[in-house]
Amino acid sequence: EAGVAQSPRYKIIEKRQSVAFWCNPISGHATLYWYQQILGQGPKLLIQFQNNGVVDDSQLPKDRFSAERLKGVDSTLKIQPAKLEDSAVYLCASSSYRDRESEQYFGPGTRLTVT
C-alpha cells in the first residue's frame, strides 16, 4: 500500500512570494490533515478535511494560507504572500476515520525556507 505522498520535498522562496504544496493521501482515506511543524515544536494542525469538506481550519491564517481538496482525494496548501515566520516543515497526514482506532499516517513533509 502506497503511503502519503507530498511534493516538493524542499522549497526556498523569498518573503512575499507565493508557494504551493501538494499532498496525495493513502487511497480510501477520507480524512486529510495539514500540519505546520516549526523546528523544535510538535505538529500544529492547520486544516482538516473530511472528504472534500473542511471540518477544522481554526488555526489556519486565512489572510495568507488557503487549502483545497476538490475531489476528496489529493489536496493543495498555498501560502500567499509568505512571511519569514512561515519557515517550517509542512506535513500532510491521512486517516481512514472508519473507527476510533484510526491512526494518522504522515507523509515525508515539505521543508519551506523563507528568506
Binding site: G42, Q48, V55, R111
Partner: protein
Amino acid sequence: AQKVTQAQTEISVVEKEDVTLDCVYETRDTTYYLFWYKQPPSGELVFLIRRNSFDEQNEISGRYSWNFQKSTSSFNFTITASQVVDSAVYFCALSDWNNFNKFYFGSGTKLNVKP
C-alpha cells in the same frame, strides 16, 4: 480541553541504557485514544503504538514498552537497551474522536543515544 504535555525536552543516554519518555494528557472524554510517534532525522512521523482508554494493560514490543495509567493520566514509553538508531524525536498524541479524529500532539522529546 484536550492537552498533551511532554515535560522532557531532550534526553541523552549512552547506548544500552534504558530510557523512559513521559507523557501526561488532559481530556474530559471517557473514551479516547493515545498514540506515540517517532520522528527520525529524516523528518517523517512514524506510528509506534495506539492505546484506548479502556485498556490499561501495559504493552511490550521488542525493546519498546508502554505504561498507561488512567489514574495519573500518563502514557509513558520505555526503551530498553537503547541503540543509536533510537535517536529521534518522540511525540505523544491524544485523539478527539468527537472532532473527526483531531490529534493533539505534545511538544516532543528529543532522544540522543550516544555510542
